[in-house]
């Protein structure tokens, strides 16, 4: 980035209209995710809700958190965190789903009071 004068910023300054547009989009997606619960889409309701949340999260990360304009290494740190959380959750789920049948048969043998 060039420095026309010493008082200009050495980072990308996000234009105000971009911040306003992202804010408006986040409000629209919030309304959408609430409205989506009025429709019965079966298992797709959860997937749709998570897809909308992910679009909102991406807008926050890219524009409010500057990742779109930043050193890509910072984005790599962020994505690495998400990858490890995904690994953590999926491996734990594999394990707990494995012994659910035992829990169910125990619960059937010991009905709640």
């Amino acid at each position: 980035m060039s420095h026309p004068n010493p008082h200009s910023s050495y980072v990308h300054v996000v234009p105000l209209w971009v911040l306003c547009a992202v804010f408006a989009a986040l409000l629209v997606f919030t309304a959408l995710t609430v409205a989506a619960t009025w429709f019965d889409l079966g298992g797709w309701n959860l997937i749709l809700a998570m897809a909308i949340a992910t679009v909102k999260a991406a807008l926050v990360a890219l524009y409010f958190m500057h990742l779109r304009y930043d050193n890509p290494f910072n984005a790599l740190v962020f994505v690495a965190a998400l990858v490890f959380v995904a690994l953590f959750i999926s491996l734990t789920l594999l394990d707990t789903l494995q012994y659910q049948p035992d829990i169910r048969s125990w619960q059937q043998a010991h009905p709640a009071d």
Binding site: H7, S9, M50, A53, M65, H66, N74, A81, I89, L93
Partner: protein
């Protein structure tokens, strides 16, 4: 030092009180600080990963508990709180921009508005927690809904007619939902308080006129933290309040 470009030479000649000795320029100091902040945010994401993991395990194994118990949460208050947090994230991002452009007064005002947003969020959260306490909607085996609370969810039928569970049939271990609800929103609430403290700190420094287009790092780092708090709530809202 003759190979330095004019702006960096200019910065060095200022001997800014806010440029640490071991950095060559404000730009280098900012880049280092920002990477440090992102690594801290990585540890925060992993911390929240723990509660999200608990949620995933219990919801996949006991969907009926989540479907039945989420009726006790107030969708309207949840949506209002989401909006409040998104608005405060917007004013925070704007405050960073103002600091970068030497708009010191605007930056101070926007930080104050962001802090107010945090207060609003916690205020609404307090109202929600208080009603959960009064209705006996507590964690694990302390989950003892009052007759009024059980009566209340029967009258939500218009909203919940599609749900497979019946309001009057309390599923086994229903308290698990509120254990997870209080862990997730409680941990998030603590982060809101921490974020508000950090915003208060940069607010005071901004009011003292310490930030400029050369030195605005702390506003930016605190902003990143506040946006992460917003980002986590963006997932908590549909996962807890909008179960279908």
């Amino acid at each position: 030092m003759s190979n330095l470009s004019p702006p960096e030479a200019h910065e060095n000649s200022e001997h800014s009180a806010f440029l640490a000795h071991h950095f060559e320029s404000h730009k280098q100091q900012f880049a280092a600080g920002k990477l440090g902040m992102w690594i801290f945010l990585l540890t925060e994401i992993l911390l929240f990963g723990g509660v999200f993991c608990a949620y995933a395990v219990y919801r996949s194994n006991h969907p009926e508990i989540f479907e039945w118990a989420h009726r006790f949460l107030d969708k309207f208050l949840g949506a209002i709180n989401t909006t409040v947090l998104i608005a405060s994230s917007f004013t925070m991002a704007w405050a960073v921009r103002a600091a970068q452009k030497n708009q010191t007064r605007l930056c101070t005002v926007l930080l104050a508005v962001t802090l107010l947003g945090g207060c609003g969020f916690l205020g609404i959260k307090f109202v929600e927690y208080k009603s959960k306490w009064e209705e006996g909607l507590m964690v694990a085996h302390y989950f003892k809904p009052t007759p009024e609370a059980l009566e209340h969810i029967k009258h939500l039928e218009a909203d919940t007619a599609h749900l497979k569970s019946k309001p009057e049939e309390i599923p086994r271990n229903a308290g698990i939902f509120f254990s997870i609800y209080f862990c997730m929103t409680g941990l998030h609430g603590l982060h809101v308080i921490a974020g508000m403290s950090a915003i208060g700190w940069v607010l005071v420094r901004s009011a003292k006129g310490q930030f400029s287009s050369a030195y605005f790092g702390p506003v930016d780092y605190v902003g990143l933290y506040w946006h992460l708090v917003d980002l986590i709530w963006i997932y908590l809202f549909p996962l807890l309040y909008l179960i279908h």
